[in-house]
Amino acid sequence: MTQISVRVDGTPYDDDVEPRTLLVHYLREQLGKVGTVVGCDTSNCGACTVHLDGEAVKSCTVFAVQADGCEVTTIEGISPNGTLHPMQKAFHEMHGLQCGFCTPGMIMASIDLVNDNPDPSEDEVREGIEGNLCRCTGYQNIVRAVQQAAGEMHGRSTAGDTLGAQS
């Protein structure tokens, strides 16, 4: 066992972990942060994406011990209770989810994308989230959501966006 100190969603934790424990398993099984999920075992699907010191990582490719001394933010910590982050709001507004299993990772990856690129084009969004798989939506409404959230996160007006617009 190895001792680690991490802050997760603003709360400090000191815990003993097995060296082989993945960050996602530490979050889910030791901290009960089950908002972050496991969708594959080859780091393809991105469902487990969290922020490690502000950068998106797939928490199945990070050992818990590597997070020692770091700040981890999960889907449960991106907005104060009862409020929504602009990205969460946009996924809801634009119907960017169906079953919702990929959604936490998709939102965390998208926030990171928009932090790096405040005004991504459709193609840039598609390329930017290609490490996150969704089986339900066909991605079109996710792309819309990310672009809408980018506008709100960077102070641009999103008035006139069409919702549920066909074609």
């Binding site: 097995e18 889910r28 099984e29 009960g32 942060k33 089950v34 908002g35 972050t36 999920v37 496991v38 969708g39 594959c40 075992d41 080859t42 393809n44 699907c45 469902a47 999960t74 889907i75 449960e76 929504l84 969460q88 996924f91 809801h92 507004e93 119907h95 989810l97 169906q98 079953c99 919702g100 299993f101 990929c102 959604t103 936490p104 939102i107 459709e122 969004v125 598609r126 390329e127 989230i129 290609e130 490490g131 996150n132 798989l133 969704c134 089986r135 339900c136 939506t137 066909g138 991605y139 079109q140 409404n141 996710i142 792309v143 069409t162 919702l163 549920g164 617009a165 066909q166 074609s167």
Partner: protein, 825 residues
């Protein structure tokens, strides 16, 4: 069309909810991570289960040594097939499509013989998930290897090796539908004998994997002689019945809950070995047990879909009028029959004629066993396969006749004035207008410009060629009609149940038997009830997926939820209003006949200001101080809906495809579709369903294939190899609708869950072939990888002639396939 949600003023009756782009109620928990996936569940004393799986595709188990595993840290128990042989029964198959169908039996844990790679041979129960997983490596199993059966065409040859050595052949069943014999069409053989033109093709429907995003998970909690089972399933109600029958746990002692379920697409429609095992282990140990699969386990052992070899012949005259259709299928069952494995191709049997007026039709299908994971439902389930074959061969017929592919379709499709139309397969198509949907789609697509560009590229010899593909499709949805399902030998009905509980504060609980896993039932059902009862959308809560709360139901598949389940909700709401009317008449001291009900309020006709709201009536019957003699003090109601016919969504899908003739790379340039799904309750949800369906249909055409090597190992066993498309792999979709309401249900809806997936695949392949047909290409094997496209262009054939493809469906050029001669094989 721009749809903007407007908030409802508190306490006032809403505008009409049906047709409104309501944002989903479900999202609140899903976007914040406050979810209840089965794997999130932690119970006191819970033990974890891991499965030891066969590394061989076919073999006798000669010995299993579990002693090392039993000694491993944290391990509580190790069980083999022999340990549970007397109690595990056989996994159920509910669809004996023919009376003499061979079902080899399906143990949850193999006892003597394994029949596919990944089959369970033992289970480890341990105090932690990692301890269980670590001990898997310590179980030592010896196998005597047996011949591996993989190729269907070889498997049906006389003297072929056997998938199961206790069966006499690899054929499970031979299913025939002959329109001449059924009295729904003419003599098919005569039609072909008389035909001026016959076009024959062999198409391969590759094996696909549903690949829902949430891996399957099961938790069982024993409580005395009661058991609660949580599972990531589409079918909690059917699962409860089936588990009771299989394990002997009495049905009334078993509660099944499907909490938040992360996608299904048919992949969670069948009772699984792991559900049975987890229940048996919990019963044996008296402890809560959890099993959650890894993605690799999921791809290797959760059921697959499609996997057919299709021989299809169409007869026509020189003017392009179709005269007959003949189909022979080989359908891969895999090693075992799961819940509706054999029925999938039979469902497709009735859809091969598509939207065309064939005067004669004969269908035959052999269900074939191979040493692969079983197949079962995958989005569309039989109908995508049928739609692909007919829409591909209509293009080939057009080429043979030198006609425009759209013109051949138009010449033969059912006209709007002819609905309801009884097809050669005996189905009565309900409503629609194929011409209108096609015209709208052409407009949305920019057809003329794309054709002009195609011409320019062809003339200039551009290495990147452009092609346009059509799919003018219909499908049968809303499974349902119980009597029809009975006539097809399906083991259950197709009704759906709903109940409505009016709470004292006027809030409404709607209980539905249709269990969602991403479809948005909570939102759409709230819209239905808000309209029917005249209550605010926000005042409705939809309960589902727990057999203790929703005791009657047949769950979610076959685009049935809104059509059947939603209709049950509307029927229940109608009953609530009828019961409330009696109370209202009593309290308003008026005759029932003088009451009108509008916007949630009963009022006496012609007497302004006399209203009594249905939510107030709910409180009045709760208090029950003052209600009429002879009736019960309740306005709650329950309804079961069983339609008399399927519903038949249709649409026209158009794909423009760029094909790089130097590299074989294909790229969708534009995709447009117009679907007619009847009444649209929530356009946002409808659009999302179409998008997601398109993605999966396009994925079949371009990316996905479950490939086995010559030993029966799945070589596409991770998301590295099995190519679920990302956002970067898919185009923007232009979608639209026409609306011809379905006459068979009170909503007028036809179902939308599978439309995009059924329609898109042939449009995409037709487009790619149209781009390179002038180079001599007449077919390309799916998925259209750059390698296959390049081979088809430069070496001829369908491009599928490569070693790794041979084990699934041996590469035979279309022209070399055996002809279908009325079943003489």
């Amino acid at each position: 069309m721009t749809l903007v949600e407007e908030p409802t003023a508190a306490g006032t009756a809403p505008e009409k909810e049906i047709g409104r782009a309501r944002r989903r109620k479900e999202d609140a928990r899903l976007i914040t991570g406050r979810t209840t996936w089965t794997d999130n569940m932690v119970l006191p004393g819970m033990l974890h289960l891991a499965v030891v799986r066969s590394p061989v595709a076919h073999g006798k188990i000669t010995s299993i040594d579990v002693s090392a595993a039993q000694q491993a840290p944290g391990v509580v128990a190790v069980l083999t097939g022999r340990d549970v042989a007397d109690e595990q029964g056989s996994l159920p198959c509910a669809w004996p499509v023919t009376p003499d169908m061979v079902n080899p039996g399906h143990p949850s844990i193999a006892v003597d013989e394994v029949n596919h790679v990944g089959e369970a041979v033992a289970v480890i129960v341990a105090r932690s998930k990692v301890a269980a997983q670590d001990a898997v490596e310590l179980v030592d199993v010896d196998y005597d290897l047996l011949p591996v059966v993989l190729d269907m065409e070889q498997a049906v040859e006389p003297g072929a090796d056997l998938t199961h050595d206790h069966t006499s052949s690899n054929t499970s069943y031979h299913f025939v539908f002959d329109a001449g014999e059924a009295g729904t069409g003419g003599d098919t053989e005569q039609a072909f004998a008389d035909a001026e033109v016959v076009v024959s093709r062999r198409f391969v429907q590759q094996r696909l994997i549903p690949a829902f995003m949430e891996p399957r998970s099961v938790v069982v909690q024993p409580q005395g002689d009661n058991y609660t089972l949580w599972s990531s399933t589409q079918i909690p109600h059917i699962l409860r019945v089936m588990l009771a029958m299989v394990t002997g746990v009495p049905e009334h002692k078993l509660r099944v809950i499907a909490p938040d379920v992360g996608g299904g697409f048919g992949g969670k429609i069948t009772p699984t070995p792991e559900e049975v095992i987890t229940l048996l282990v919990a019963r044996r140990l008296g402890k809560p047990i959890k099993w959650t699969e890894t993605r690799s386990e999921s791809l290797m052992t959760a059921h697959h879909g499609r996997d057919q070899i299709q021989f299809i012949d169409v007869a026509a005259d020189r003017e392009g009028n179709v005269k007959g259709l003949r189909v022979r299928l080989l359908a891969d069952m895999g090693a075992y029959l799961r819940l509706i494995t054999p029925g999938i191709p039979a469902l497709g049997a009735f859809m091969f004629p598509g939207i065309y007026k064939f005067p004669a039709y004969r269908f035959e299908c052999d269900g074939v066993f191979t040493n692969k994971v079983p197949t079962d439902a995958y989005r569309g389930a039989g109908r995508p396969e049928a739609t692909f074959a007919i829409e591909r061969i209509m293009d080939e017929l057009a080429v043979e006749l030198g006609m425009d592919p759209l013109e051949v379709r138009r010449k033969n499709w059912i006209q709007a004035a002819e609905f309801p139309f009884t097809t050669v397969a005996g189905l009565q198509y309900d409503s629609g207008d194929y011409e209108q949907a096609t015209q709208d789609a052409l407009d949305l697509f920019g057809y003329a410009e794309l054709r002009a560009e195609q011409q320019r590229r062809r003339e200039s010899g551009d290495p990147v060629q452009l092609g346009i593909g059509f799919s003018t499709f219909t499908e049968m949805c809303g499974l349902a009609p119980s009597r029809v399902l009975g006539s097809l030998s399906f083991g259950a009905g197709g009704w759906e149940s709903a109940s409505i509980r009016m709470l004292p504060t006027g809030k409404v609980e709607v209980v539905t038997g249709s269990t969602p896993h991403g479809q948005g039932h909570e939102t759409a059902w709230s819209q239905l009830v808000a309209d029917s009862l005249g209550v605010p959308f926000e005042d409705v809560e939809v309960l589902h997926g727990d057999t203790s709360i929703s005791s009657r139901g047949l769950d979610t598949y076959g685009s049935r939820s809104l059509v059947v389940g939603g209709s049950a909700v509307v029927k229940a709401a109608d009953k609530v209003v009828a019961k409330a009317r009696k109370i209202a008449a009593h309290l308003l001291e008026a005759s029932e006949d003088d009451l009108e009900f509008s916007g949630g309020t009963f009022s006496v006709r012609g007497t302004p200001g006399t209203g009594l709201g249905i939510q107030e009536i709910a409180l009045a019957v709760f208090a029950a101080h003052n209600y009429p003699e002879g009736i019960e003090p309740s306005i709650d109601a329950e309804a079961t809906f069983d339609p008399e016919n399927f519903s038949f969504p249709h649409g026209t899908h158009l794909c423009a495809m760029e094909v790089d003739t130097d590299t074989g790379l294909v790229k969708i340039r534009k995709y447009a579709c117009v679907d007619d799904i009847g009444t649209i309750v929530n356009p946002l949800i409808v659009e999302g369903q179409v998008h997601g369906g398109l993605a999966q249909g396009i994925a079949q055409a371009l990316y996905e294939e479950a490939v086995y090597d010559a030993d029966g190992n799945l070589t596409t066993g991770t998301f590295v190899d099995y190519l679920v498309p990302s956002a970067a792999d898919l185009p923007h979709f232009d979608t639209g609708n026409t609306v011809h309401t379905a006459p068979g249900n009170p909503i007028g809806a036809k179902g939308v869950g599978e439309a995009g997936c059924i329609a898109s695949t042939p449009a995409v392949v037709n487009a790619a072939i149209d781009a390179v047909r002038h180079l001599g290409v007449s077919d390309i094997r799916m998925p259209l990888t750059p390698e296959r496209v390049w081979r088809a262009i430069h070496h001829g054939g369908d491009g599928g002639d490569r070693a790794s493809a041979r084990t699934n469906a041996q590469a035979v050029d279309s022209s070399e396939g055996p002809s279908t001669q009325g079943g003489n094989r």
